[in-house]
């Protein structure tokens, strides 16, 4: 068969059919191979600095990194406090009406009681946050739960990218010396493309 333009034009419908059939056969497998070969990624935006909200970004990031995902955390607004050398976090009942009150000591039946403390009272009693923080830390220690400092250390060791919002640093009047080493100070224009290309993006 000659390869004149006329012949090629005549062969087009058959060529198209052949190509479509081949694509149907090969493409799903090829796409699966490509998907399996690529490294999944996760981008987390950490915006809260209380103790209870400090756990989720570090737990999710350390877990994702453990299974080989490329992971970044962007610390902005109050989330920036989680990068301070001494994490100042305390539990706050404000904005968290579902927070259960449990005691970390005494017999099991006593520890199992959820104390019916109205949120308004929890938020209004002076020193309540310190007590709640102490109870949460004690409960977690009793159960062998890794501390926020340890989880942050794990994230750093596991190459989680720790990104601090430079604008928040400026607005709140912080200096870089107040934060741990190994942080990149970036802006939204840096982080948004990271978030766009990630497989999982979480706002915490």
């Amino acid at each position: 068969m000659s390869t004149s333009p006329e012949n090629l034009q005549q062969a087009d419908p058959r060529m198209d059919a052949w190509l479509n059939q081949k694509l149907d056969e090969l493409l799903p497998t090829k796409l699966k191979e490509i998907d399996e070969a690529r490294t999944p990624s996760m981008a987390i935006i950490a915006t809260k600095g209380t103790l209870d909200w400090a756990y989720p970004p570090f737990i999710l990031a350390s877990t994702a990194s453990a299974i080989g995902w490329d992971t970044s955390i962007f610390f902005t607004f109050y989330g920036l406090l989680l990068l301070k050398k001494e994490i100042p976090s305390e539990v706050s009942p404000l904005g968290n009406p579902a927070m259960p009150m449990k005691m970390p000591f005494g017999p099991k039946w006593f520890q199992g009681i959820t104390w019916p403390m109205p949120n308004l009272i929890m938020a209004g009693i002076p020193g309540f946050e310190k007590v709640a923080t102490s109870l949460m830390k004690k409960t977690f220690k009793n159960k062998g739960v890794a501390t926020v400092d340890e989880l942050r250390e794990l994230c750093i060791e596991a190459d989680v990218k720790m990104l601090a919002c430079q604008m928040t640093v400026d607005v709140f009047g912080f200096s870089h010396s107040e934060f741990i080493d190994g942080i990149d100070y970036v802006g939204a224009t840096y982080f948004l493309p990271v978030a766009k290309d990630s497989d999982v993006c979480l706002f915490i």
């Binding site: 756990y55 737990i59 453990a66 080989g68 250390e153 794990l154 596991a158 190459d159």
Partner: protein, 144 residues
Amino acid sequence: MDNTSLALDNPTISTVPEVGQKVRLHGREIRVELTRAARRAAAGLAAPLVVEMELYFSCLVRKQVRVKPLADTHLPNDDLVSLGGPLLLGFRPVVAEQCRIADLGDEAPPLKTMPVTKPGAYIPHWLRLDFHKGQWRGEFGYQS
């Protein structure tokens, strides 16, 4: 022959673990502190015993030290180092095998080893081990 194989081949060896020794696991150094009671108990072991530092990834991350006979560990021998004599140390990251807790009754969820891509990054920095009233007790952590 490394320390591990020495210990496994000679389970009756009675080397007393050192105080405040450092061992390497997955390329990372761990500071190990055994109380006097733990060292005494370790020196008297007749068979290899594995100290597993278990890191449980779930809604929270839980640390737990489990001490078990060599036959009961899920860790391969290559992932164990000797703490002196037949007392061996290993690190096991785990996840729950199933999340349907309703099916489990009062039982703890069955755990399986988690395939961590960079185990060295998750190796604890320190381990403390005690032997009290016939029971091994320990804790580990990531900060000095």
